[in-house]
Symmetry: C2
Subunit: 374 residues, 2 copies
Amino acid sequence: MSDSPIRFEIQSADSGTHARVARLHTPHGVVDTPAYMPVGTHGAVRGLTPEQVASTGTQMILGNTYHLHLRPGEDVVREAGGLHAFSAWSGPILTDSGGFQIFSLEQWNRMDENGVRFRSLVDGSMIELTPESAVRIQNDLGADIIMVLDHCPSLPAPRDKLEDAVERTTRWARRCKDAHERSDQALFGIVQGGGDEELRRKSLEGLLELDFPGYAIGGVSVGEEKREIHRVVAATAPLLPADRPRYLMGIGVEDDLLAGIAAGIDLFDCVLPTRNARNATLFSREGTIRIRNEKYQRDFRPLDPLCSCYTCQHFTRAYLRHLQLKKESLAGTLGSIHNIQYLQDLMSVCRGRIARGDFADFVRDFPAGFAEER
Amino acid sequence: MSDSPIRFEIQSADSGTHARVARLHTPHGVVDTPAYMPVGTHGAVRGLTPEQVASTGTQMILGNTYHLHLRPGEDVVREAGGLHAFSAWSGPILTDSGGFQIFSLEQWNRMDENGVRFRSLVDGSMIELTPESAVRIQNDLGADIIMVLDHCPSLPAPRDKLEDAVERTTRWARRCKDAHERSDQALFGIVQGGGDEELRRKSLEGLLELDFPGYAIGGVSVGEEKREIHRVVAATAPLLPADRPRYLMGIGVEDDLLAGIAAGIDLFDCVLPTRNARNATLFSREGTIRIRNEKYQRDFRPLDPLCSCYTCQHFTRAYLRHLQLKKESLAGTLGSIHNIQYLQDLMSVCRGRIARGDFADFVRDFPAGFAEER
């Protein structure tokens, strides 16, 4: 770990929960954690310029290896100077391994011990993703943090299938580590095991031997209920090494974030905040706003009067509703700016409450306490 | 004219052409002319924030009365404080009268001396647009410059139809002037007459009696060939009062702009630069770029290496191609920023060449001279 390209500096820990505040130092800058990473699937957070993303307080974004591999191809990104240069995002980036996308398109692929084969939706060609190629692609993309290829079964799944997935994920993690070639990228392991806490523990034990600089919880939000997610995260996150960043994959609306933080998670990503924004569903300290609703036709207040995002500083609910009804792409842009900043503000408040040691109160009273924190 | 809300200050005139440089003072700021106005159909230049629009050097934008009347309705815009407040564009705005949209959807409407009736595409209701209502709607929208309702026939059209349109446009112009109630908005007349120069002259004569603070040439680019447009503009524009702004409606790609400026036009609007941008067709000093073309796959140069727009300062052709192929809305945003700034830069260079008195040379050598002017 002495030669790790990242440094994880814990600043304070909550007394009543597992929550902690830290600074994650990466080759492209610092991330204050707990942190929410917006998803830039194709090398852009949909509809937003890098400046607009940065304006929300976002420090780190996520790129999807699966999508970037299909198009434009990691060779193009590498020749461009890597994903940072290609997409003009100069801050930290994390790429996933493609595992989640592959298994969520399960009917189109075949898997064996070597890896997964699937047919490209771009040109119909047969593509093979192995632990080695998943790492090689991510080495080409050049993110600050990259992920092992994991086997992520959808839930519910029988225990033997879950156990197979755990064991394969461990074997693949070793192959990923062996294949990883760049010292300026940190490779994280991924804990699998579905809703089975014993399998989660077993999965982690296998990974710990490989001494990753950070660990993720994968295989959540793949069909199971929300309270199942919270149970598994609460049981698993505290087991992950406390001195290294913990990343909960694919999770990121308010209650999930709070539950994750309380369990000791540091990093989150989720497409919902931006996808919902494009579909006219917006966060606010007064509750969710479905902006297409007729009641907003003459509502000349900001989306969230307590929000300091660009959208809330310049536009009214009436205008945003109008743009949505006209299917104006600016609606998605402005809504995404707001939804992302809303979560970044929430993360910021959480960090403050953890530092003050009363994060548990904040979670219990949520959303009441959020509106009071400015 | 002494109480006109606008002031048109001519600064220099070209010796070899009718081109002139002026400053148009409006209640919401100054416009340096010749000027290109991007089109904000629904109260937004598609996909761009007001800041992004302003970053291109744009000083004035156009809003479409027809579209804004259908949705959100001028009552909503008025209650919001007018189009400036509603859309958060604090600079000058011009609204058209809706005439062009109505006549381009000719099969769906019925016209008589009183006005035009058409069925709303929003809710199927029957809507009547008269000279009085077109002005009332524009009074509610609150743009700095508003337009009379004109009769704009598509071409080719028989002479008697053109003549009827001219006479009706004159009668409607008088009714518009009578209906106009706001002293902080300038109402412009519109010259019709199709390709018939005598009818164009007759149309202008009828309008001059009404003493408008500015005059537009309408009814061009409605089916006729480009060289026909240039002939009519060259014959008509110099007849318009030299001390007032001249506006050529719906025209705005490079050669049309240059021909219009040489004929003495001050204001232009056109949807093509932004529509083309969304469809991956981009201006450059090296010629038109169709960014989806495979040859740009690994082209890591800016769209136009001589352009100082946000897009060219941050992104490569390869990245813009990738976004276009992924149908990423950011592609349209970045392309529109570029195409608009390209035209604003062209306008700026034209103003400089007019001031230097060698605009005719610039037009003759175009595009060669453009790349040399920075």
